[in-house]
Amino acid sequence: MRMIPQSRANGFTFLELLCVLSLGILIFIFLLTLISSVRELYHRQLAFSDLQENVYFLSNFFREKIQMAGNWSCQEKPLQYSAAVRIFNANDAKTQLNIKVAPATNLLQLSECIRFHHKTQFLPIYFFDANSGRADSRGLPIDSLFMQIDHHRREELISGVSQWNVTMQRVNNQKINQCVVEIRYVLTSMMKNPLLKPGILYVALRASHG
């Protein structure tokens, strides 16, 4: 019977060890790449979900708010229609309302009867884009959409809203006064890899109720 030498029977050759080590390193690198890809995709998915939530909220909230603008049910006399929806540019917002908004954006003023401080009152509500005072992971300032009731403190509605541009048209359509509000904005997800997506909202409302 042929005897196998003791050294070959119990161990690996240097070549075998080298092959296994290089294969192991390759698999390890592949694993690391896979983990980082999964993480990256997860962050992108979160960013899209965040954007979707904000777009959905913006659309529903503003559609309802703009359509309710001019609701004078708490007042004895109907108000002038022009009081329901007003738009200011950055300069006018600063000088007339003392509200600082982001440059080259607009302030949207909607007036309606709202319940505020346990009382239903006809009050102006301002919606505008301004610096939130915070910075993102790259150190860039975050612009947010704010809501302010009359002269009270502003409240942040959505983070990462910029280029908030509002235009309004009045249309005389078959003897019914209609007002059209068009809002264009850019949403940025506040996740690790920021995504920028434009958004448009177009709302028509009848002027007869305001």
Binding site: G24, V171, V180, V203
Partner: protein
């Protein structure tokens, strides 16, 4: 040694399946995001049609709406048909991996 290689390969396989699952989830997220945008665009056009008093106005707004669609959705195209008096069907198609369509019947 071979056991370590085998377990590393097994982990790699599990992670690969996780990655493919994540890719599918991500695609679903993007699809639902585009669907939300499409629905908002349909609502926008429905409001635009309320304002348009003449056929020319409708055509002009339809053109502007389609320009917006192209900015917001990949390879998108909107359409509208007058079904009967003051009733229109508006639809929006876009292409992301495959063709999607959203449709609404509105007053016009």
């Amino acid at each position: 040694m071979i056991e370590i290689l085998f377990s590393l390969s097994l982990i790699a396989f599990i992670l690969l399946s996780l990655l493919s699952f994540q890719i599918r989830l991500f695609n679903n997220s993007v699809t639902t995001y585009y669907q939300t945008i499409a629905l908002i665009q349909l609502e926008n056009f429905s409001d635009m049609l309320l304002v348009a008093s003449s056929n020319e106005d409708q055509q002009q707004l339809f053109y502007e709406w389609n320009l917006d669609n192209q900015k917001l959705l990949p390879n998108s195209k909107g359409n509208f048909f007058v079904e009967k008096d003051h009733v229109c069907t508006i639809s929006l198609q876009w292409l992301f991996k495959r063709l999607y369509q959203e449709k609404q019947i509105v007053n016009c």
